[in-house]
Symmetry: C3
Subunit: 332 residues, 3 copies
Amino acid sequence: MSKRDFLSTADLTRSQLDDLLDLAARAKGKPSAQGLAGKTLGMLFFQPSLRTRVSFETAMVQLGGHCINLASHDLYELEPEEQAVMDGRAEEHVVDAARTMSRYVDALGVRAVSRVGTWERDRRELLLRSYAQHSSVPVINLETCFEHPCQAIADAMTMREHLPALSGKKLTLLWCNHPEPKSLGPTHSILRVAAMLGMQVTLAHPLGFEVDSEVLEGARSAAGASGGAVEVVNDLGAAANGAEVLYARSWGCTKHWDDPEREAMVKRSLQDWRVDEDLMSQTDNALLMHPLPVRRNVAATDAVLDGPRSVIYDQAENRVHVQKAILKQLLT
Amino acid sequence: MSKRDFLSTADLTRSQLDDLLDLAARAKGKPSAQGLAGKTLGMLFFQPSLRTRVSFETAMVQLGGHCINLASHDLYELEPEEQAVMDGRAEEHVVDAARTMSRYVDALGVRAVSRVGTWERDRRELLLRSYAQHSSVPVINLETCFEHPCQAIADAMTMREHLPALSGKKLTLLWCNHPEPKSLGPTHSILRVAAMLGMQVTLAHPLGFEVDSEVLEGARSAAGASGGAVEVVNDLGAAANGAEVLYARSWGCTKHWDDPEREAMVKRSLQDWRVDEDLMSQTDNALLMHPLPVRRNVAATDAVLDGPRSVIYDQAENRVHVQKAILKQLLT
Amino acid sequence: MSKRDFLSTADLTRSQLDDLLDLAARAKGKPSAQGLAGKTLGMLFFQPSLRTRVSFETAMVQLGGHCINLASHDLYELEPEEQAVMDGRAEEHVVDAARTMSRYVDALGVRAVSRVGTWERDRRELLLRSYAQHSSVPVINLETCFEHPCQAIADAMTMREHLPALSGKKLTLLWCNHPEPKSLGPTHSILRVAAMLGMQVTLAHPLGFEVDSEVLEGARSAAGASGGAVEVVNDLGAAANGAEVLYARSWGCTKHWDDPEREAMVKRSLQDWRVDEDLMSQTDNALLMHPLPVRRNVAATDAVLDGPRSVIYDQAENRVHVQKAILKQLLT
């Protein structure tokens, strides 16, 4: 019996996605059975986390299980490269950390978002994939710079709660300005999931902020199969027009991935790429979504984030319900 | 039904205080019922903590509940100012952190002691109050520079265990020297609680180390209602005379709040403000109290801290029992 | 009734060691009874930890108990010297931290490995011993620079699983090269435990890397009583010859303990002190052991660490089973 991981939206079939969403919806609002009593989830955070950390710990605890949390400041440096001669700073190889943790816990979550090298290197999710390869227990992607599948499925759950049916609905994924270079994880994951669900997706960003071409092709192919569509626009006005869901988030420039100062320079002229009431008024009374954390009054204004169409906290809450569904599937 | 928080001794009526103390006393020494099974307390520590962290986690676990702990090193920087344009370092606004956490946990504790600006700014407890305002779950003050209510109620419980009745008893709150500038939280909270309990309070400190005038007025008003009294002395010898409880702690100079070097200079001539056996011998066989951590042989000598009248570890232990009472009131 | 601690292999009798190993073996593979329900283990980590942290937390949770974890970054600095005048950086004395924690938790684990001073100072395990002296609850050694008893007992358990009987078996404890100066804890502990179990121990290291003479004498004395033997060799070739267990680990130079640069210089000529297939072929088909973390391709090659005779992950797993036995003995 092969081990199941939860690493990428690219690994999900449509029926697996539907099953997860149904399982999460059924669990929401009901007292949790103690279905994971005696089970332990180890979580490794190589970057800060609020939602992912707390929503997973809440999910495990409500199911009767336990989380063991390690952050980079609890650990020494780890070596991800195979066959490395470890005479540098890394005190332990990921191989050994993964195999050791597999003797202690029932599943392992890994957050590894950092920019380490070029986009060509970082898009390979070296650290996450190395844990998945060497762990004998299921590994869960807690966000990389390439994917954030738990977020995207919680986002899909949120859209299903607020819209009667998703197929054919117009979703705009909108790039927003941000003082820091950000990962492409949430964007890639919701792009693929929305395409799988048959939505009419408009990916809107300034020139130079193209998403990964393989992900875009994958989303187009998924949309082809589901009756959806994916188009790309580079114009802010066109982006909002007719949108029934406006999903805002910043992401980094893959061309200048290892040169954040250059990205920052480019972004100086892009300050109008933010969501405000004017932009919202051009939509078809769109739901406003954002995966958080959000730079208020930079990426989106207080007025729209706190406005009547904002569902940003529902997205956050649904992390718990979706992750309970994922954990049950992996661990029972 | 409005949300209940636990933020300040100023919000407590005398009968609420008595109820808490009675509930804590009844719980002490008995096996805990699992009254908080399935409940989660989130704790945010923006400064180090030993007693508060461990006593709250112990309380929750003994009641069948769970703690999720986040420290500043687990998180990015948070923005507390309303309407801020977040183009600086803060990655998330307290508004969003508070509302998100409210979807995950049943109550939220916040420790935010740091000196950030002037006393006029810091006395407003901006971070704590922002969490309380924006959380839909109860918020508990785990210590600010202005108040430490959990500590003061545990102190009151300790005094009640060691003295037959508190009304009319002579309590001296004594400023002690310390190499670092300290918060006024424990001092303010015990000052108000002791006044509410009808004690004869002597607040003793060198000139320049006045406590917040609003707190002092509040304590005097509470003493008026309870039959107690509050006097201020600036003389170390007068401070100890006749005291039945000597409560020692250092606190910072509010006038030079944003200039710690000036405070340090002033304190160089105040090294005799410490508790030793001589000072204790001038009291009426006083109990020695200190909320810990204590600078041994600076604030108080080993001989008195480890002496027969010291109840410093009872104060620490009673944190657990008092906090169980607070948690039960907030969560059941 | 005196408090029991678990601090050193030197405190164990042979029959106590056998009891622990039997208890751990019986527990392995069986669902854990909830024998520590309601019990809490506090763990203080003054250095990073993966195996110790996660294996203890796993053990407690599987027994129905709870761990409260504090790392140095959660705390202020602590003062270990008795009678210190605390006008420096340390905010609290170990005396007070130990007595406070004793009011909150049922047992206390301490990891304190750092080089602080000379070997003569650090071999006294000042921080651990201070916690043990001042805690009223049992204290467990989670590794010092002098001992790592939990590791050594897990190692003994692993050898017992793979070899029909340990008495008379040839065990080589082999020094390996490493870019950093390392503690002597695991080496000292397995040396004493193996001697107690009647093994024929060869301690193999370059000149200058002698272990503590008191530990060596203690091991020789234990070997005398058990029918075992301890010899020291300074030749890599002689070390492997005939070994049935090859236990590799680096350790620091006690003579240059407070001069890591000098140790680094000495080690530049010792790069052949590593385990590879050639060295393994000179053994009597030895089991390969290492307590982890291991510097791959510096201390030992990938080929031998991942080879058929490597039991390094069994050693890691057995930490859980041995620690359950220790916790049950201390807490029930």
